[in-house]
């Protein structure tokens, strides 16, 4: 599977709930020193109204640049994260969620590490 098959895919629960606008991976702790740590799929960022990339505005409460933040906030209002465990099936252009799936906040947890540290 390639990433572009997932991006913009329609997400359905009991009814359509939005579109995949990004795919979040968690980078595992380093194992062997000469190998990159594995990046496993953590969840899908789902936007109910737009297929465009949220450009990272969904990760934190960013307020600047103000016009962009306002537009992104409006386009992606109601965005949420679906954990991998709640994904029931993935097809070409669509994703089906398990009944009773949970809508998690798409913002990063406080303790998440930044990407600019060496692996």
């Amino acid at each position: 599977m390639i990433l572009s098959e997932l991006l913009t895919a329609e997400v359905r629960g009991d009814a359509p709930v939005g579109f995949v606008v990004d795919v979040r991976f968690v980078v595992d702790a380093p194992g062997e020193p000469d190998r990159a740590p594995e990046a496993r799929l953590y969840g899908l960022i789902v936007s109910p109204h737009a297929k465009f990339s949220p450009m990272g505005f969904e990760r934190k409460d960013l307020a600047s640049p103000w016009p962009i933040a306002q537009i992104q906030g409006w386009l992606h209002r109601g965005s949420f994260l679906v954990h991998w465990e709640d994904v029931a099936a993935i097809g070409r252009g669509w994703v089906r969620l398990r009944p009773g799936f949970t809508r998690y906040d798409a913002r990063l947890p406080e303790e998440a590490r930044t990407l600019d540290e060496d692996w």
Binding site: M1, I2, L3, S4, L6, L7, V21, D22, V23, R24, F25, V26, V27, D28, A29, D34, R35, A36, E38, A39, R40, L41, Y42, I45, S53, P54, M55, G56, R59, F80, H83, W84, E85, V87, A88, A89, I90, G91, R92, R98, T102, R103, Y104, D105, R107, L108, P109, E111, A112, R113, T114, L115, D116, E117, D118, W119
Partner: protein, 134 residues
């Protein structure tokens, strides 16, 4: 909406990268900081398309970065054939930041064949092109 990440608490203290935001279209540099290519797509470990995913199935992983001619397909739809996409194994990536850095040299990668071809067949035949300027 839940504000936290309860199902996978251990992931919260690790790096969480969003593929579209942090990987797509990023410049890739080799171990000597030589530009190699840009990331056009990602290869994710296989899932059976359309099949039910049993609970507890291990999540897919990033297998490779893909680069290739995606300009036209992004504009007009579709995707380039797999044979036109060059693969860089994820295990060769050493860091993800504004650019992606590799732990290997670009000469060992299929993605840089065009540059090597031009260097060896065209630039290298120009008198004086095979040594440093004096």
């Amino acid at each position: 909406m839940s504000p936290t990440y309860p199902p996978d608490r251990e992931a919260a203290g690790r790096r969480l990268l969003d593929a579209h935001l942090h990987l797509l279209d990023r410049q890739v540099l080799d171990t000597d900081s030589v530009p190699v290519t840009a990331v056009s797509d990602l290869e994710i470990s296989d899932l059976d398309s359309g099949e039910e995913i049993p609970r507890g199935t291990a999540p897919p992983r990033i297998e490779a970065l893909l680069s290739g001619p995606v300009f036209a397909t992004r504009a007009f739809g579709g995707r380039p054939p797999a044979s036109r996409l060059h693969r860089i194994a994820w295990s060769d990536v050493s860091s993800v930041d504004v650019v992606l850095r590799l732990r290997v040299r670009s000469d060992s990668l299929e993605a840089s064949w065009g540059e090597r071809w031009v260097r060896d067949r065209i630039i290298g035949r120009i008198p004086g092109a095979r040594h440093d300027p004096e």
